[in-house]
């Protein structure tokens, strides 16, 4: 039993790291752009397929796929911003319209991935050596440990960027007061395009990590990650980057420990119980006392 719990804790931290990155991207997007990005899960799975293609066709290892995914997804996000978002501004209710637009985009993207890769689940046949490592009394796959290390590096880098640099503070300032950032002379459209590109680049990287952490993915896996992402965003407090990171870890731990203690069928509902519980008890999220809206 102890080993099982320890297993749950370690794997909870690892998958939680992935959820944290998804939550961080979504909370940035919502905070800065007021966009509910329902297509984020498809962006993420797009990153997984990119790693798959790079490995299977070109023999590029997943670790090398990380920077490729980051750069190509960042660029694609920048383009997508100018293609999609200005259209929303013409609506009377851009926030709700963003939900519909991104939901449509999510369906379209998963259909495209279905066309390209068919409905079978895919995985990357890349093995680290050794294939697993001993962490205390338990064994964890090296791929998962590597993914966790990457997650920590990215989280630290992003936290440094958001909390220590002026452009990062400008992003957070936009979350705090979107009108004021325009009044002080910051081009909020440029900043929003950057935020969208950053979140999309992050999605690409997360996708590569998912290919390392989870056994398989397919064209329809995206929706699941979007939903987990939204639970994490709500749990961490809307527009709170640190909250999202923390909430991702908490969600991952809860999910993995639930599989230890609860029957398989019950474990599935833990995520939704967390969502409902947060909204009932602490609608501003775990770090909600800092929220100001």
């Amino acid at each position: 039993m102890e080993t099982l719990v320890l297993n749950g804790l370690v794997n909870g931290l690892i998958v939680g790291g992935v959820y944290a990155l998804i939550g961080l991207s979504l909370t940035l997007l919502y905070g800065v752009l007021r966009i509910v990005n329902f297509a984020h899960g498809e962006f993420v799975i797009g990153g997984s397929f990119l790693a798959y293609v790079l490995f299977n066709s070109l023999g590029i290892a997943p670790l090398l796929a990380l920077p490729i995914a980051a750069v190509s997804f960042f660029a694609a996000g920048w383009l997508a911003y100018y293609l999609l978002i200005p259209r929303l501004a013409r609506s009377d209710d851009p926030e709700n319209m963003s939900f519909l637009m991104m939901y449509g985009l999510s369906i379209a993207l998963s259909a495209v991935m279905l066309l390209l890769f068919e409905a079978d689940s895919r995985s990357i046949d890349y093995a680290f050596s050794p294939i697993s490592m001993k962490v205390g009394p338990i064994y964890v796959s090296t791929a998962r440990l590597v993914a966790f290390g990457v997650t920590i590096v990215i989280s630290l880098a992003l936290s440094w960027f958001l909390y220590r640099t002026l452009p990062g503070k400008a992003l957070r300032a936009t979350i705090m007061n979107r009108e004021a950032i325009q009044i002080v002379g910051v081009d909020v459209e440029q900043l929003s395009a950057f935020a969208f590109a950053l979140a999309t680049g992050l999605a690409g990287v997360t996708g590569v990590l998912i290919a390392l952490v989870f056994p398989a993915f397919n064209a329809f896996s995206g929706a699941e990650y979007s939903i987990i992402g939204f639970i994490v965003v709500v749990l961490g407090g809307l527009g709170n980057p640190l909250g999202a990171l923390l909430a991702g870890i908490i969600y991952g731990l809860a999910e993995q420990l639930a599989t230890v203690f609860l029957p398989q069928a019950l474990a599935q509902i833990v995520g939704f119980a967390i969502l409902v519980g947060t909204i009932l008890v602490r609608p501003t999220g775990i770090l909600g006392w800092r929220a100001q809206r």
Binding site: D92, L166, K169, A170, R172, A173, M176, N177, E179, A180, I181, Q182, I183, V184, G185, V186, D187, V188, E189, R290, Q292
Partner: protein, 258 residues
């Protein structure tokens, strides 16, 4: 009712800022402003007063690009700039302190000031100069430079907003109800401060609910009613003209003494 005296286009010097026959609508057809005109002349304090819901703040937001007029034009130095984005106004030397709080609460006082230097953020010397200017203006800000802006009192926050706007050396400052929710003693201080701005070369547009103070320090006053020009004139006109005085008394519930 016809506007009784509108002199937006009149006057000697070219206005720094101007609204010409501006209409603003929400949700397509609810007109908040109708044919509103006003001019902000250089070196003066231009006041805008009127009852609640007259469209004073809306006029200011339309002027600063935060709302796009459905008709009419916004002009800077006589040049039509209708639809110009709000963040371009700083480059043109025009700063705004809106009625609602415009600070970034979780960021420090100094970061709030630094963000206002965004357009020249790589010029370290110029940023340092701008910070010093704000601190020299309000030394209290320097003492609290590392405090979260949102943790300060309402008055201190207002001073930070004013300091932040002035750090960029604007030639015109637009103020929306600068003393709303501020203790009376501090409010008097803020009005004295505003009164002294034209002498420092800063043109002021002051939108205010506080008719007494606004009329006391303004050179020219616009009275709005239901999104239109009701009347406007120099403060002299208002104090001399018995009709205007009674009009003000009627519309904004305040008696101007002759």
């Amino acid at each position: 009712m016809e506007p009784e005296r509108v002199s937006a286009a009149a006057g000697g010097e070219r206005p720094v800022l101007e609204l010409r026959a501006v209409d603003v609508a929400y949700h397509g057809d609810i007109r908040i402003l109708q044919g509103l005109s006003m001019a902000v002349r250089p070196g003066c304090i231009t006041g805008v007063i009127g009852p609640n819901g007259a469209g004073k703040s809306t006029a200011l937001r339309a002027l600063y690009g935060l709302l796009k007029p459905v008709a009419g034009d916004v002009l800077i130095d006589g040049e039509v700039v209708t639809g110009m984005k709000p963040w371009r106004f700083i480059e043109r030397g025009i700063a705004l302190v809106p009625q609602s709080r415009s600070l970034f609460n979780e960021l420090s006082v100094e970061d709030n000031l630094r963000l206002a230097c965004w357009s020249f953020r790589r010029d370290k010397a110029r940023v340092a100069e701008a910070l010093e200017r704000a601190y020299a203006q309000f030394p209290m800000l320097k003492e609290r430079r590392n405090h979260a802006a949102g943790a300060m009192s309402g008055g201190q926050q207002r001073f930070l907003e004013l300091g932040r706007a002035l750090a960029l050396q604007p030639r015109a400052l637009l103020l929306d109800e600068p003393t709303a929710m501020i203790a009376p003693k501090l409010a008097a201080e803020i009005y004295e401060f505003i009164h002294g701005l034209p002498a420092r070369g800063i043109t002021v547009l002051l939108v205010d609910q506080n008719v007494r103070q606004c009329v006391r320090i303004a050179d020219h006053v616009y009275v709005l009613e239901l999104g239109r020009n009701k009347v406007d004139g120099s403060v002299g006109d208002f104090t001399k003209d018995a009709d205007l005085r009674s009009l003000i008394a009627e519309w904004v519930d305040y008696r101007i003494d002759a």
